[in-house]
Amino acid sequence: MKNKANTKGRIMLFCARFVAYFVLIFLSALCLFSFYMLIINASRSNAELQAGFAGWFSTHFIDNLTNAWNDASINIPRGMLNSFMIAAACSILTTYFSALTAYGIHVYDFKLKKPAFYFIMAVMMIPPQVSAVGFVHLCNTLKLTNNYLPLIVPSIAAPVVFFYMKQYLESVLPMEMVEAARIDGSGEFRTFNQIVLPIMKPAIAVQMIFSFVGSWNNYFIPALLLDKAELKTVPIMIAQLRSADYSKFDMGKVYMFIFLAILPVIVVYIILSRSIIRGATAGAVKG
């Protein structure tokens, strides 16, 4: 009797595992399919692409790469450099100042501590788009259009990153350490920069990646502020590609542009996927 139930349980488990693997493999294939097609098509010449569907690589990857890289109307190397500079600056500013703000609220006791904290929590959910009108107007008034400052400086105030850093500090920073530093005569800024920042390295690394990726992919605000060709970022160029009359385009080149736009993030992701995925949950509210 007991043996029978055991066999039944085993068969059930086998079926459950089969279903689970089937669903996982199907979804993974769905995720990878479009990227697979992208790489395949980026290796095919325009004539091959017009001729019909193919499921395997061709030999024109380097040709497409040189054509896309040297394109006269869409200067992708320039765009990638622009995007990189903005994203790098944003990721440094956003992590440093979010850590600083979180430290200020976590360690010190002051009258406005609670109101400041609740204020940041309250504005965390407001979509950035709702202030776009005033933001564009402000940039027009200050003559900051076609300038990277309004794309970089606002990253100093990032409520979500602040919240992540605050939670991290709560779990890793003992007050005794701050007090010991004080007794040793360390100034408050020095304590933060030389003792607290190194402790926060894992949190900073994760948030640097997320903010770099967020800034690299950002389309809405940069598209409103940048219209000079030499200042445009990658997402603006991709949208420009869409609005051009694509039937006249060398399609191999189009696939290569898309490939180049997502390549840096894919490379970073492949190297750091473990810590990125871990970081995705750590900021979330625990139940």
């Binding site: 019909g52 569907f53 933001f135």
Partner: protein, 307 residues
């Protein structure tokens, strides 16, 4: 917090949080208030002529909710589009994510290769939405590989113009949103399930509950606060839907504006017609909706903290 004899460090607290607040006030709070302010003004370009800014009271809002010649109210139509697109992507997103989160955390299933699957399904979340959308456009265009495959294999008699059919455009947008977000939701829900006291699962096991009973009687009720949080933050994200439909339809929301979203509407006033008054009014409507949704998040969170 400990008290220090004589020495007060309070000023350092202010100094450390000052940069955040200066930047927030200058680049977010002030623009938010001026957005509200401009929504009461007539302020746009008519050809080369600049009209306004003239104070017009609620005229922009009234205009926003006045039916046009055909009797439809644009903002309601675009709000409806945004909701339809969001629901089409979010329902499978949450259902699948819940399923996968249970798979990954199941002690009984003990799946191999978890890290690989997680890495793959999370990846689309980091991909540039505009590039992903452009990729789908090229794959599903009239001369793209999908059509080539359909025609050459005989599954379709002639080329299908996916971007001219309402259902297919909406489905493509929903598919992209699903692909970009289900991995992220899976990871969040997994963390939620792992946060549940393991004894409860063991107890249910000893009492002879089957997997379905465990899921509906233990996992789901205990996961409810996180599920609500996930769904509502996804809603606020869905309200901001822009890059994917904008690039896929070249900013036109084809066919017949059936995939035109709220933020595309805002962008249209802001970038194309430079109508700051109307753009301000649309922003205020967006703000009210997202503030309402956030209030629900905080209510559900504070409830779960009390418990």
């Amino acid at each position: 917090m400990r008290k220090h004899k004589g020495v007060s460090y309070a000023k350092w607290g202010y100094i450390f949080i000052l940069p955040f607040f200066i930047v927030y006030i200058l680049f977010t709070l002030v623009p938010q208030l001026t957005t509200l302010y401009y929504s009461f003004f007539e302020n746009y370009r008519d050809g080369l002529k600049q009209i306004g800014p003239n104070y017009v009271g609620f005229a922009n809002f009234i205009k926003l909710f006045t039916p046009d010649k055909t009797g439809s109210i644009d903002i309601l139509k675009y709000f409806g589009n945004t909701i339809i697109l969001w629901v089409m992507g979010a329902v499978p997103q949450v259902v699948i994510a819940l399923l996968l989160a249970v798979f990954f955390t199941s002690y009984r299933l003990n799946l191999k290769g978890q890290q690989f699957f997680k890495t793959v399904i999370y990846m689309p979340n980091l991909i540039m939405a505009s590039a992903f959308s452009m990729l789908f456009f090229t794959l599903f265009s009239r001369v793209g590989p999908v059509n080539q495959l359909l025609v050459s294999s005989g599954m379709a008699d002639e080329v299908i113009d996916f971007l001219a059919i309402r259902v297919s455009v909406r489905s493509l947008i929903a598919l992209m949103n699903f692909l970009m977000w289900f991995g992220n939701t899976t990871i969040l829900l997994m963390a939620g399930i792992q946060g549940i006291d393991q004894c409860l699962f063991e107890a249910a096991d000893i009492d002879g509950a089957n997997s379905l009973q465990v899921f509906f009687k233990v996992t789901l009720p205990l996961l409810a606060p996180i599920l609500v949080y996930t769904i509502i933050t996804a809603m606020i994200g869905g309200l901001q839907m822009f890059d994917v439909p904008q690039v896929l339809t070249n900013g036109k929301g084809t066919p017949n504006r059936s995939s035109f979203t709220m933020v595309m509407y805002l962008n249209n006033y802001l970038q194309t017609s430079k109508n700051y008054g109307m753009a301000g009014a649309v922003s205020v409507v967006l703000f009210i909706i997202s503030a309402g949704l956030s209030a629900v998040v905080y209510r559900s969170l504070s409830k779960s903290y009390k418990n």
